[in-house]
């Protein structure tokens, strides 16, 4: 199916449309962040009477209230959008690329290449995700790049497995056999014949990878290993937890978590719609 057909079917499905809508909303928010953010997220604010605006509930001046350090929550959440999308999209692209290539090469060439890559994947599968990321970030330092690196290092395995399985079935199909018989080069078969057929499947998993990456980054930040220079949603929650604000300042706790949930959910919706596009049996009759 062409990309256009896929897109059209995606929009027709309500959830798919919602997913894409939410994604676009956040992307636009991120792009416009410095323009629409009411305050600098790192500056302490003061009330009209000159006192420190500490843990103020939502008001007209501060739509989502303030933190214990008097910072505007809404501005922080808007700033966090950039980090989330940066992590999510970069990871998604890299994970898809690496996972697809490995899965493709492994399945296409088979033999010892396949064995080696799959043993490698198996070992990676055995590693507990979050602890490993923590250790890696502890070793390399809590910069956002290291976090993304750790995420990519562990996440490619799922895509690789799935793509490999798909290519294995495609390999036996007649159009590939025919291409081989007519003397098509490996490159041609891979790029011209196989790639377009596995692209939709890759897209399904890339939306999942995006969500996964955002959740992981938030978790890492929550545990205290986040990039100290970046205002990520996870970091906002870390600050809130440390300030023991759970009980007192719901406006500090709810919005960042909700933002994470919405963005990750959009990834799920898009991937589910893509899946229904690919597997007609799952479509509602």
């Amino acid at each position: 199916m062409t990309v256009r057909e896929i897109f059209r079917l995606l929009i027709k499905d309500k959830l798919g449309a919602i997913g894409i809508g939410i994604l676009l909303f956040f992307i636009i928010l991120a792009i416009l962040a410095p323009f629409i953010s009411p305050y600098d997220p790192t500056i302490e604010n003061f009330r009209a009477d000159g006192s420190f605006a500490r843990m103020d509930p939502p008001s007209l001046q501060h739509l989502l209230g303030t933190t214990r350090m008097g910072r505007d929550v809404l501005s922080q959440v808007i700033a966090g959008t950039r980090v989330a999308l940066y992590v999510g999209l970069t990871s998604a692209v890299m994970v898809t690329l690496i996972g697809t290539v490995i899965g493709l090469v492994s399945a296409y060439f088979g033999g010892w290449v396949d064995d080696l890559l799959m043993r490698f994947t198996d070992i990676v599968y055995g590693v507990p995700f979050l602890p490993f990321t923590m250790i890696l970030v502890a070793i390399l330092g809590p910069s956002i790049w290291n976090i993304i690196f750790a995420i990519i290092l562990i996440s490619w395995r799922t895509t690789a497995r799935v793509i490999r399985a798909e290519v294995l079935t495609l390999k036996e199909r007649t159009f590939i056999q025919a291409a081989k018989l007519t003397g098509a080069s490996h490159r041609r078969i891979i790029f011209h014949h196989l790639a377009p057929n596995i692209l939709p499947l890759s897209l399904v998993y890339s939306s999942l990878a995006m969500g996964w990456a955002i959740l992981t980054e938030a978790s890492i930040s929550f545990l205290g290993y986040g990039d100290p220079f970046l205002m990520s949603w996870g970091k906002i929650l870390f600050d809130a937890y440390v300030a023991q604000a759970i009980n007192d300042a719901w406006w500090w706790v709810v919005p960042p978590g909700l933002a994470i949930t919405l963005l990750v959910m959009s990834g799920f919706f898009v991937s589910r719609s893509l899946e229904e596009v690919l597997n007609p049996r799952l479509r509602r009759l």
Binding site: D122, I123, Y125, G126, V127, P128, F129, L130, P131, M134, I135, L136, A138, I139, G141, G211, L215, A218, S219, F222, L223, G224, G234, L237, A240, Y241, I246, N247, W250, V253, V254, P256, G257, I260, T261, L262, V264, M265, G267, F268, F269, R281, L282, R284, L285
Partner: protein, 323 residues
């Protein structure tokens, strides 16, 4: 069958060896000098060296590696840099704490996921399905620690239904297994973190069960069951579900890996004294014997549970024989 088990055991050990080797080298690269937590700078140099010697930190890397591997094989985890206690003491109790919590969460997630997924597939196309799927996806998309924070806020602080974290009321000296686990107080503390964890883990089993059941319902033997005059409920639970749960079981391995990560977060938010929370503190304090040991335990847990899942699958699916 026996050959299969032996082969898998060898595989498992090999994986653990590779894992721990990688870990060994990674940990030696950890920033922060472990010696600072071990040593009192006021001590004379000889005393300092003596401590270093005691912990084997003055030997060349290759020797440290050999000692490390041998110790590991004997279950010797060394001494905590931080508390100076044998690591095994520190870890073993915590392991049980984690097992109980994780077992509860994962068990609940699987139970509701499997039955729920089958029922959702049955009510395909209805609002019930849409709502159920959306709810499940919501929890899957939410950071589990955020859900935990809000659960604590609502159910513990505001409503007072559940204790505010921890595994027991503080200040008790509980020694025996029964005192610690087999009582209502423990259960009371277990429920909220258990439910929060379960809500996070339930999405995959439920959704996989749903699509698997949808596919199975198209199979010929389902129509045959109908032709035999069986009720729809019998068909769903005795025939459809029994077949469609097989793909879920194959995914339990992934679920467990996922759950270990989740445990780290849940234990942190709820102050649950398990190995999840332990590894966070250990890394922070550069206590690498403890960090290594916890990581090792986690790896073993994942690998052993994977193996057990494969065995269970072999029982559930008569078409599969292990040779």
């Amino acid at each position: 069958m026996r050959a299969f088990i032996i082969r898998r055991l060898i595989q498992m050990i090999l994986t653990m060896v590779v894992l721990m080797t990688i870990l060994f080298f990674m940990f030696r690269v950890l920033p922060g000098d472990p010696t600072t937590s071990l040593l009192d700078a006021a001590l004379p140099v000889e005393a300092q060296n003596a401590v270093l010697h005691q912990f084997g930190l003055d030997k060349p890397l290759s020797e440290q590696y050999k000692i490390y591997m041998v110790n590991l094989a004997h279950g010797e985890f060394g001494i905590s840099f931080n508390t100076r206690e044998p690591v095994s003491n520190v870890i073993m109790d915590k392991l049980w704490n984690t097992l109980f919590l994780m077992g509860f969460s994962v068990g609940l997630a699987l139970l509701i996921g499997i039955f729920g997924g089958a029922i959702v597939a049955w009510y395909r196309g209805t609002t019930f399905e849409a709502v159920a799927v959306s709810v499940v996806l919501f929890f899957r998309s939410s950071p589990v620690f955020w859900i935990g924070m809000m659960a604590l806020s609502v159910f513990s602080y505001k409503l007072g239904w559940f204790p505010i974290g921890g595994m027991h009321e503080p200040g008790q000296n509980l020694v025996t297994f029964r005192e610690r686990y087999l009582n209502l107080e423990f259960l009371h503390h277990l429920i909220l973190p258990g439910l929060v964890g379960a809500s996070y883990y339930i999405a995959n089993p439920l959704l996989i069960m749903r699509s698997s059941t949808i596919e199975v319902m198209e199979d010929d033997f389902i129509e045959m069951a109908r032709a035999k005059g069986l009720s729809e409920r019998t068909i769903l639970f005795r025939h459809a579900m029994r077949n469609s749960m097989l793909p879920v079981v194959t995914q339990v391995a992934l679920l467990i890996g996922f759950a270990i990560g989740g445990q780290v977060l849940v234990e942190t938010v709820f102050n649950w004294p398990g190995i999840g929370r332990e590894i966070v503190t250990a890394i922070q304090l550069n206590d690498y014997p403890v960090a290594q040991a916890t990581f090792f335990m986690m790896g073993v847990l994942v690998i052993v549970l994977n193996f057990l899942t494969d065995l269970v699958y072999g029982v559930l699916d008569p078409r599969v024989t292990y040779k």
